[in-house]
Assembly symmetry: C2
Homo-oligomer: 229 residues x 2
DNA sequence: AGCGTAGGGATTGTTCAACAATCCTGCAAT
DNA sequence: ATTGCAGGATTGTTGAACAATCCCTACGCT
């Protein structure tokens, strides 16, 4: 038989893609991590040379990684000046929320793939958030909140939407890093998260979707109240 | 005053970004065009060397452009083997439609920015499609259809959603290029487009959104009926 | 002081040439 | 028919180079 078993070579191909990561990808991951965790603040400049020596890779490679991150809106490129950590302005915040208000409630309402595991993931994010808040670990609370929203979108069961949502949430982290006094920003939303989760578990998806929409509207206003520039 | 007028240098910055395009970007645009127009068919291999000589740029630049297109799902990279024009499988089609069914009706229903100009853009796409169909220009009909859906999403007024939709539609073009007998695939949807547009113009956004959802469901089934692999 | 202007240094955008690692092909051997 | 193994081609990555552009400063002019 000259034709291989189709499942076999499909697996082989998948494995190659899974096991292998290019250097540029790893560089991009490293820098994205630094940015998302707030160790590189919005507006900071990233000179190529410095990254080369810091990461021990060639300039061409960091260049490729930077382009990737620029496409993700994590960095911003100013031609012939360099790349900077993105500094989302008020309009960016409005647009991110515009997109989120459209996607998240729709994902909850449609919920094409709202099986038990995915609802459980929402519940887990809620618990994670409450736990973090009780112990005053505000950074973990922010992370938990992101997990919550990611889990909401995951109810739609679409990898492409999940990816898009990951981009929007990464941008949100930049937004938070520009905010003064974000440490307890997420705290008031804990009870809302819990309520939404309860509605979901009760199968009341329309009500849950409405709650999400209202949540997002309030959060946007709350954020924009004293967001700079 | 050492600080420039903020509006002025913001403009200067914007202009720089607008007027300037890196070589890699232009290469990416050129290749994307070839792929989207169907002159490079799904599965085709793109050896770096060939692109270098064809476009007169260096291999590094080509590489950067390819990475960009891989991220857009226009191309697919198999490590150490090369980049190929993406060949969306049935699961990809299902997922693209999953995302579209979530985004498009929601954009029509919410329509945060559904002003007259944007509704007019929808109308224009419908007319463009009818015109193309009457003259049997099937390629233009396909384009018009994409303009129609792009205009629907534009009703939400979110650049980020527009961009996401552009990616999904580019992937759809690849899907169509894999289909046997697509020449008149879009024809039956002309009347639906017109109906949706009429509903929009009448301000009946909920009805329009439902029609879009139904449209997408039918189109997905129609496509998957005899889609390969 | 304020403004325009010419270096000079640093950084970016892009190319070229090289090398190791990996993949594909053909062929010999079992 | 399958395995093992050269040889060649392609990819992944590096390093160095060069022009173009930007930033800063010093200088000169009003």
């Amino acid at each position: 038989m000259t034709a291989l078993d189709p499942a076999v070579d499909s697996l082989a191909r998948a494995r190659r893609q899974f096991a292998w990561t290019s250097t540029a990808e790893r560089v991009a991951d490293a820098v994205r991590e630094e940015v998302v965790e707030g160790r590189l603040l919005p507006g900071a400049r990233l000179p190529e040379q410095r990254l080369c020596t810091a990461l021990g890779v060639s300039r061409n490679t960091v260049r490729e990684a930077m382009s990737q991150l620029v496409a993700e809106r994590v960095l911003m490129r100013e031609p012939h000046r360099g790349v900077f950590v993105a500094r989302p302005d008020r309009e960016a915040v409005r647009d991110v929320y515009r997109a989120r208000r459209l996607i998240e409630p729709a994902a909850v309402r449609a919920g094409e793939a709202a099986d038990d595991t995915r609802v459980a993931a929402v519940r887990r994010a809620v618990d994670e958030g409450r736990d973090a808040a009780e112990n005053g670990r505000w950074d973990d609370l922010a992370s938990a909140n992101q997990h919550f929203h990611r889990a909401l979108v995951a109810l739609a069961g679409s990898p492409r939407l999940d990816q898009q949502m990951a981009l929007l949430l990464a941008e949100m982290r930049l937004v938070f890093h520009r905010m003064p006094g974000v440490r307890e920003f997420h705290e008031p939303y804990l009870t809302q998260n819990a309520r939404i989760c309860a509605l979901l578990e009760a199968g009341e998806r329309d009500a849950a979707a409405d709650a999400v929409a209202e949540y997002l509207r309030a959060a946007e206003e709350h954020l924009l109240r004293d967001y700079p520039s």
